[in-house]
Amino acid sequence: MAEAGFEPRIVAFLCRWCAGAGADLAGTSRLQYPPNAIPIRVNCSGRVEPSWVVDALRSGADGVLIGGCHPGDCHYMVGNYKARRRVYLLRKVLEELGVEPERVRLEWVSATEGARFARVMTEFVEELRRLGPLQGNGQG
């Protein structure tokens, strides 16, 4: 079903201190990137629940991005480590259920990495275009 001009839908859970601030910096630096992701701000990547990710996939998202601080930089010290382990295990479950694990991405983006944020977004959209729509997710 990988139709031409497919625009993947993405939900991006961004921690406010690093990834969210990095996204803001991409804005202040006017770095263009595809508009496919709708950001949802959380205090820390450690707040993101695996069920949210699945919920997003079931509600029409083709991919989910979780953006947190680099290891050692989490505003709450260790939230990103928990996020990492949760995503690692969740991706295994998704794979067993037949969902490409690449649809769920965890990325470290610091508040100074506006360019990195834009690049991550661009790459993720490209990857999802390659994977095509997540079928049976309510989109059709």
Partner: protein
């Protein structure tokens, strides 16, 4: 989407199983009871025997209208009943065939109350793990390629075995369910609590006859060192009798599973596999446990240096879906083989 029962929240008044005082002294008009099995192992039917002597008491107060495992009555007999003629139908088993679904619908029509009895009817149960494969794959694996159900030699077309549904489903996917008695099979305490209610005062619709709190509350094991440095399978370890199994590396679903069984498995040194289903606010039982478990993993100091060893701990979980979604896969993941199950895999619902 998660098939959540409406109005699951009202809190159960009684949390302790009772078997002794089932009968109000006043004479009770007989309760017209049906017990039916769909895709079931039979364990649920046997589970009533666990009531022991109290079963006699129950039997003296009910009139069995339909119970294929006990009484010789046929589908036609049920069809002949007027709508609402049955007071309560306890249905166990997953919905796996067209016939299962038809029977569920028939009983719904004829019964005032429908009770999903046991993990399969409640959540889809262990047979629900078949949803990891497409229906065609299952049929091909069992009967060989190109299999189509046909009547036995010389039989009429309606003697053909029923079609397999596209997916195993919990009872609530086909009919409105009034109450749930969870468990694989339901533990005796909960069965007697259910009959108490059916023969006495009914709880609000949607009630699940189990605790609102997770099993840990009733588990006597001490919870101390909340970190998981290794994952072991039950056969690999003779657990310390006092300590929480999770702390010893066994994946125990107690924290995410309703109490009500008096922690029978953990008391016997076996981790909870989650048969009583998720607590009211847990959402997806498997994902909630996954999140908790991943949070607990530790391989030394948390940090980048530990990533590889943390992953190794998590890699020791053989079959994550079977571990985390042992009973609830159909209830939480509607389509077979995941979200992607477009086409033929797209759920069994009309």
């Amino acid at each position: 989407m998660t098939e959540k029962l409406e109005g699951m929240s009202p809190r159960s008044q009684e949390n302790s199983p009772r078997t002794s005082d089932l009968s109000p002294v006043t004479h009770h008009p007989s309760l017209k009871l049906a017990v039916y099995w769909t895709g079931s192992c039979g364990g649920c039917d046997v589970s009533f025997l666990e009531l022991g002597a109290a079963l006699l008491d129950v039997l003296s107060k009910v009139e069995i209208v339909f119970w294929p495992a006990l009484v010789d009555a046929k589908r036609a007999d049920v069809e002949a009943l007027p709508a609402g003629a049955i007071d309560v139908a306890l249905i166990n088993g997953t919905l796996r065939t067209e016939e299962n679904r038809e029977m569920a619908e028939l009983l719904r029509e004829k019964s005032k109350l429908i009770v999903a009895y046991g993990a399969c009817a409640h959540l889809g149960g262990i047979p629900g793990l078949a949803n990891l494969s497409q229906r065609e794959e299952i049929l091909a694996a069992v009967f060989g390629d190109g299999f189509r159900p046909t009547p036995p030699p010389g039989g009429s077309p309606e003697d053909a075995p029923p079609e397999l549904l596209a997916a195993a489903l919990p009872l609530s996917a086909a009919v409105r369910v009034d109450y749930v008695v969870p468990g694989c099979p339901p533990p005796p305490g909960l069965i007697s609590r259910t009959f108490d209610a059916l023969l006495g005062e009914l709880p609000p619709t949607g009630h699940v006859f189990a605790s609102e709190k997770a099993l840990c509350e009733e588990c006597p094991r001490t919870k101390e060192d909340r970190r998981l440095t290794k994952v072991v399978r039950p056969h690999e370890l003779l657990p310390d009798p006092e300590k929480c199994l999770l702390d010893q590396g066994m994946i125990c679903l107690g924290p995410v599973t309703r109490g009500g069984c008096d922690a029978a498995c953990p008391k016997a040194g076996m981790p909870c596999t989650g048969c009583l289903g998720p607590t009211p606010n847990a959402g997806d039982q498997g994902l909630a446990m996954l999140s908790a478990l991943a949070s607990l993993v530790r391989a030394g100091e948390e940090g980048e240096a530990a990533f590889a060893s943390e992953d190794k701990v998590l890699d020791a979980i053989v079959d994550p879906v079977g571990t985390f979604h042992k009973y609830a896969l159909p209830a939480t993941w509607k389509v077979p083989s995941s979200l992607r199950g477009g086409g033929s895999g797209r759920g069994g619902r009309p």
